[in-house]
């Protein structure tokens, strides 16, 4: 994968989902569904994914 010289900004990427209106609703829910599954450990996170310390399961 090639990387841009410019940091696209994590927050800025998420805004683009929020902007997307109806078309982006599916993406939005899918993204958070993945996060939720990660949270309750239905599925082990892929090794490439770094976990946010906040989302560690109790």
């Amino acid at each position: 994968m090639r990387f841009a010289y410019l940091d696209p900004g994590t927050g800025s990427m998420i805004v683009q989902v929020a902007l997307g209106g109806l078309a982006a609703v599916a993406v939005f829910f899918k993204m958070f569904w993945h996060r939720l599954r990660e949270l309750v450990r239905i599925r082990k996170p892929r090794p490439a994914e770094r976990r946010d310390p906040d989302t560690t399961a109790p």
Binding site: R2, Y5, G11, Q16, F28, K30, A48
Partner: protein, 470 residues
């Protein structure tokens, strides 16, 4: 995209083109070259083969570019070299009026939208990549184009907000000028900074809640960048259609933004000038006579106001930079010229007593005004009293500045008896500005310039001089 006055004979890296390793600009004997790295070459090949490239160049929206067989220094790491058409005079967004930045933003968005149709995108979104042929914006950074990577949001969105959208929102919604902020920050206006300025009632205006408030909050929350959001988005099915929809929304938002300057000091100056019709015509004739002596490359009109004399100069010059400190006047001139389809006058916002300095990395990324092209002729009409009395710049210092430019000049001296000068002097202590008088002025002028012609107007309360540097 700027070229030093003296040609070094060897390729010189452009001091403003270093951020993108894959695409860097060099100057060589007045030519503009671009070194492409391997990824840059891939992006160029994709662009060169697209319908967008041919169409946008033909429409004048994209700088004419071709691949050339030219060797650049080893450190350029060039997989290929491009040559660009030269832009007559490089300017920066903090020198543009509201409508100019808005039109540049619409060009940027149009190119992204059209690129997406051919599975291309632009990796950044900077107004420094837009320059002007007269009043037509031209996108100059061919190196911005790359192949679209499916599943990714637009990489340039954040920069678009910082350098295009936020400055426009600031001025459209609060009336505060964006130019000082952009001049103070090469990166632009951050969402967090703008959020602090936009109060409760502004937050209901289109675009503010999402692009500013939400954007600022998410930036703060995700500032640590721990998550790989890009991969998460791709997995969740983010796709090109969403990028295209966002770009269309941005276009709609930007197109609706308006700035109402109200009545500024100079925005109705032309209509209320103290000149009689006959004197105004004689002044124009004087300017026309000097301008028509020979064809010139670059003319500056400092204090251009409504652009009457810039238009005369443009009849006999390739490019006229029409500079005025009043952004409302410049905005109106820009819109008039754009409607007329004028191609040789570039209106810019600038105060000659506080001109654009060198900015960015080592103060060389954005160059001072004087280093971007030396004028062959400079018009300073109804200007000296503002510079010298209102601005407190000594008359000799102003003439030194003009002499250093090695430019021919047409300069107007409104004497102390002129009503406008008298009004300015009335606010100062009695006897202030003794250097501002016909006799010391003419002496100082003759020391630095060879005066070729002069003309008294309005009962000798205004005198025009045409002079060449000694």
């Amino acid at each position: 995209m700027r070229i030093p006055d003296t040609d070094p004979g060897t390729p010189t890296p452009d001091p403003g083109s270093f951020r993108d390793w894959d695409s860097r600009v060099y100057a060589l004997n007045g030519r503009v070259l671009r070194a492409l790295g391997p990824d840059g070459l891939d992006g160029w090949r994709a662009l060169a083969g697209s319908e967008l490239f041919a169409a946008a160049v033909a429409e004048g929206k994209l700088v004419a570019t071709e691949e050339v067989d030219e060797r650049l220094p080893e450190e350029a790491g060039a997989a290929a070299v491009l040559e660009h058409e030269r832009i007559p005079f490089v300017s920066y967004p903090y020198e543009w009026s509201f409508s100019m930045l808005r039109d540049a933003a619409l060009l940027q968005l149009e190119l992204v939208r059209r690129a997406l149709d051919e599975d291309l995108t632009l990796k950044d979104a900077s107004p420094y990549n837009v320059q002007w042929r007269g009043t037509s914006p031209v996108f100059i950074d061919v190196g911005s184009f790359e192949r679209l990577r499916e599943g990714e949001p637009w990489q340039g969105y954040r920069q678009f907000c910082l350098l295009f959208l936020n400055p426009l929102l600031l001025q459209a919604y609060t009336g505060a000028p964006f130019q000082p902020w952009l001049r103070g920050s090469v990166d632009g206006i951050h969402p967090d900074g703008l959020r602090g300025v936009l109060s409760g009632r502004h937050r209901l205006r289109p675009g503010v809640l999402t692009h500013v408030v939400l954007h600022a909050r998410l930036e703060r929350r995700h500032g640590d960048g721990e998550r790989d959001v890009k991969a998460e988005l791709a997995r969740a099915g983010f796709r090109k259609e969403l990028v295209a929809a966002n770009v269309r929304r941005l276009e709609k938002l930007v197109r609706r933004l308006r700035w109402d300057p109200g009545r500024t000091t100079w925005s109705d100056y032309g209509a209320t000038t103290s000149y009689s019709e006959g004197d105004a015509a004689r002044k124009e004739g004087f300017v026309r006579e000097v301008a028509a002596r020979r064809r010139r490359g670059l003319v500056w009109n400092v204090g251009a106001n409504e652009g009457r004399h810039a238009r005369i100069a443009a009849e006999h010059a390739d490019t006229v930079v029409a500079l005025d400190a009043d952004a409302a006047v410049v905005d109106r001139l820009y819109r008039e010229l754009a409607d007329e389809g004028a191609t040789r006058i570039l209106p810019l916002v600038g105060d000659v007593t506080d001109p654009s300095p060198g900015l960015g990395w080592r103060g060389r990324e954005r160059l001072p005004l004087e280093e971007r092209g030396r004028p062959e002729l400079t018009l300073c009409l109804a200007l000296l009293h503002h510079v010298s009395i209102a601005g407190n710049v000594p008359v000799t210092a102003f003439l030194d500045w003009l002499a250093d430019l090695r430019t021919e000049i047409v300069l107007e001296l409104p004497t102390r008896d002129d009503p406008r000068v008298a009004a300015l002097l009335a606010r100062k202590r009695p006897g202030a500005h003794p250097d501002y008088d016909r006799e010391p002025f003419e002496r100082a002028l003759a020391e630095r310039f060879e005066v070729e012609r002069s003309l008294e107007l309005a009962g000798a309360t205004r005198i025009l001089y045409a002079a060449r540097p000694r």
